[in-house]
Amino acid sequence: MKAKITMEVTIMSIKWDEFFITGDPLILGSQIAIVLTMIGAVAGITYLKKWKYLWTEWLTTVDHKKIGMMYIISAVLMFFRGGMDGLLMKAQTAQPEMGFLDSQHYNEIFTTHGVIMILFMAMPFLIGLMNVVIPLQIGARDVAFPQLNALSFWLFFSGAMLFNISFVIGGSPDAGWTSYFPLAGKEFSPGIGNNFYAVALQIAGIGTLMTGINFIVTILKMRTKGMTLMKMPMFTWTTFVTSILIVAAFPIFTVALALMTFDRLYGTHFFTVSGGGMDMLWANLFWLWGHPEVYIVALPAFGIFSEVISTFSRKSLFGYKSMVFSILGIALLSMVVWVHHFYTMGSGPAVNSFFSITTMAIAIPTGVKMFNWLFTMRKGRIKISSAMLWALAFVPCFVIGGVTGVMLAMGAADYQYHNTLFLVAHFHYVLIPGVVFAVFAGLYYWWPKMFGFMLNEKIGKWHFWLFVIGFNVTFMPMFFLGLNGAVRRAYTYSAESGFAPLFMLSAIGSIILAAGFAVFCYNIYWSIRYADRNISSDPWDARTLEWSTASPVQFYNFAKLQEVKSLDPFWHMKKKNEGLTLYDSEIEEIHMPSNSWLPIYMGVIFGIAGFLLVFEWHIAAALAAIGIFAGLIIRSFDYNEGFHVKKDEIHRIENAWRKTEGEVHDHVS
């Protein structure tokens, strides 16, 4: 045992040697890299004189498209962070008794991996795509509350950054992404790592809740003329139902996190057992939010697949109505299955039977969707583009995730699967095909709409094959490891266990998976540098309204609000050749919202107050919180009514893109 050197560096009564995490070369390397990156970024922006551009065009924007892009950029960064965590875990378990990471470090890494991938990668990626696409799909000029939308983004970003600095400052949360009590309480985790969890997720969660409200109102109130509910595109439907789920489920998480914060910071006993609290109350509240959360990310993904499959099969969606009712059924059922995450709690056979049945019942509407997708492709002409490849790979991979899900749903059988790698393999087989494949499909599909050029199809195929093969090689072995008794979250295993070959295979798979992600990043770089800018605004011959306007979309979206007569409105407009031309007489002034510095200010001040709260410096945190109220007050006296876009400007902008129309470059064939 190494000798303990007591070193206390205290300035202003802050223990600086505990404040910065020291003693681990991996973390030291990260700290240096972070500082260098920040210096580089600041120097670069200053050198290029881009501060003003950054401030006026991005940081203060209320444009739903730009907010969507910022969500997506953040999500890709978080994907990188969460992916690195995953690779470190795979490296540590590649061989038995590996000494690469110690158990504490491993615990922190799987905790942050889970939180980041679900809350800071999957959610913002999908919310980003929703932001870009939904107003366009329903023929609107922005979301219902543009400034609230910006606030949502900045709160998410603030929460994500607060959570991410934990590994270099103060210490990472280490009680798993579920942070079960009593382990996550002060009795067993006196370090402040889990304060980061409670506070950062709270801030990001408030942002998400506001996104949910914003999209419900947007979809209910801002659809263009003629678009009844049953004429909405499927992605709009799924976003609508997801938003309802967000509003139903996130308040539970908000409350649970608040109680956790009270327990950890002020010594209350909601979940703290030794003070008479109920530890399982946390598990129940967590999964009351946590299970709907899975569908909050899965449903929009299903919407993306619906759009992509329909477009590239050149057919309208098969069984539209039953698809809509399936989504509603899934959403409803998702609220009554949470106990399946802890059948082993000993709630008794009646409770477990009830939740086994509700959980298995989810397979029914999901199966309906699956068959409807298959029959959408039937009799179609399937163009296998990069976007479509992701949708195709989704089908078999998700079926494996689905059937193992039914197996796990069977309460009695779950006694043998629970907390094993079988479970881990299952949820990666659901979330990676169900969400990651979807966001890739959506990104390849909508990229030309966002930026006016396509992602390279050839590099896209490399990305696809490496990622899909890597995914299967990584997670398929885990099913068998789990059935053989390998548990999740264990930082090592013995050589006698016989787990070594499959763990090694899984580690190799994760490298292929990472190579796929690297190719994806390279594709973005390559396409920004070299891709053809002279493409049609409708490169896929698509079906919904977002393709009827320019690429990249002009800031007011549509010069004239369209009238919709059927499903797949743009497809029928093209067939009948009506509504595609814009006449001078139709141009009117457009009212648009102004930029605002308040959302980013609120993000920053929430971040500062949150950071101080994490360190339990209550007076400083309370002072910072005054800034939050100041922001609210300033907002209530904000009478800015926005601005009007003059006819001349609309005329100029519309002429510019409509003239080049017709020079169609087909990039897919």
Partner: protein, 329 residues
């Protein structure tokens, strides 16, 4: 698509290889066997689903893919089919029913002593999980073991489980499923071993730094051997004292221990009013340390002599822990 299928088939031999000795498919007792039967039953149906969907998927994608020949083919306008919707809603409902009935039956059966063993008098063993060890108390026999448990073969064993620290999960995959152990609560589980043998047990619910090594051995013995062992323990094993027990509950790893009395004499952690042994000072790790709270029934107020030796004793502990002494391998 072909490549996906190829990569899947490449994994098949692995399935076969590891399938030979996957513990969940080699049940060693009636409880585990009833779960394995259920799993096998579900596997048949799930394989059916996989074959149907994969087949349909492969056929449709292959047949309707875009080719140079069908460039001019314009797909028909098609909105759905009520008959098809009824079929693919109805069949899954039937499959779910086929899975539900045995699931519910098994769930109820698992709460009681397994079929065929109702006659036999079960022995009761109290399981207390602590950080990061398992304590087994035999109240009828008056003995206690740590990190191993001996049971007679062909006899139902009723485990009454609780925790002295965080929440853990008690799992002996060869003999049956798992259940949580929770502080101030009690869960119950029956297990039976068909034959004498050694079976691995472990915690599956993450509970901090020592989690990965929180394992124990279940040794099933013939009645004769088991009674011999009992008598031997009674005769030779030392008595557990309250202060030794306090030390035992500190967050550490340890080997096996055997005692000729049980801690149930002075504390049963399943009792909601039992004394708490938690001590946050022992869990301090790296990073910035927050402040902790003194509960009315926590470690300090429960130890009458704590005022004299807290400063020294507590300090020693946290120092040791800081250095990572739990690391024994």
């Amino acid at each position: 698509m072909k490549k996906i299928l190829l990569s899947l088939t490449a994994l098949l031999p692995l399935l076969v290889l590891s399938g030979c000795n996957m513990v969940v498919f080699e049940p060693q007792g009636p409880v585990a066997r009833s779960i394995t039967d259920l799993i096998n039953w579900s596997l048949i149906w799930m394989l059916l689903v996989v074959v149907v969907v994969f087949g349909l998927f492969g056929y449709i994608v292959w047949k309707y893919r875009e080719r140079p020949e069908n460039k001019d083919y314009e797909p028909p306008e098609e909105h759905g089919s009520t008959l098809l919707e009824i079929i693919w809603t109805g069949i899954p409902i039937l499959i779910v029913i086929a899975l539900t009935i045995p699931t519910v039956k098994t769930l109820y059966a698992l709460e009681e002593a397994p079929k065929g063993y109702e006659e036999k008098e079960p022995i009761t063993i109290h399981v207390t999980s602590a950080d990061w060890k398992w304590i087994f108390s035999y109240p009828e026999q008056g003995i206690e073991t740590v990190n191993y448990v001996n049971i007679p073969e062909d006899t139902p064993v009723l485990f009454k489980m609780t925790s002295a620290s965080t929440m853990q999960s008690f799992w002996v995959p060869a003999l049956g499923g798992q259940k949580y152990t929770m502080p101030k609560m009690e869960t119950e589980m029956y297990l039976v071993a068909d034959n004498p043998g050694s079976y691995d047990g472990q915690n599956t619910n993450f509970n901090g730094r020592g989690y990965a090594d929180m394992k124990f051995e279940v040794l099933a013995q013939t009645d004769e051997k088991f009674n011999e062992w009992l008598a031997d323990v009674k005769e030779t094993a030392p008595k557990l004292t309250e202060s030794e027990y306090d030390d035992l509950l500190k967050p550490t790893h340890m080997g096996r221990l055997t005692f000729s009395n049980t801690h149930l004499e002075w504390v049963n952690h399943a009792d909601p009013h039992s004394k708490a042994y938690t001590n946050p000072e022992l869990y301090r790790g790296h990073g910035y340390q927050g402040k902790t709270f003194e509960e009315e029934d926590n470690y300090k107020s429960n130890q009458p002599n704590v005022m004299e030796n807290h400063g020294q004793g507590g300090h020693d502990e946290s120092e040791d822990n800081h250095g990572g002494d739990h690391n024994e391998h």
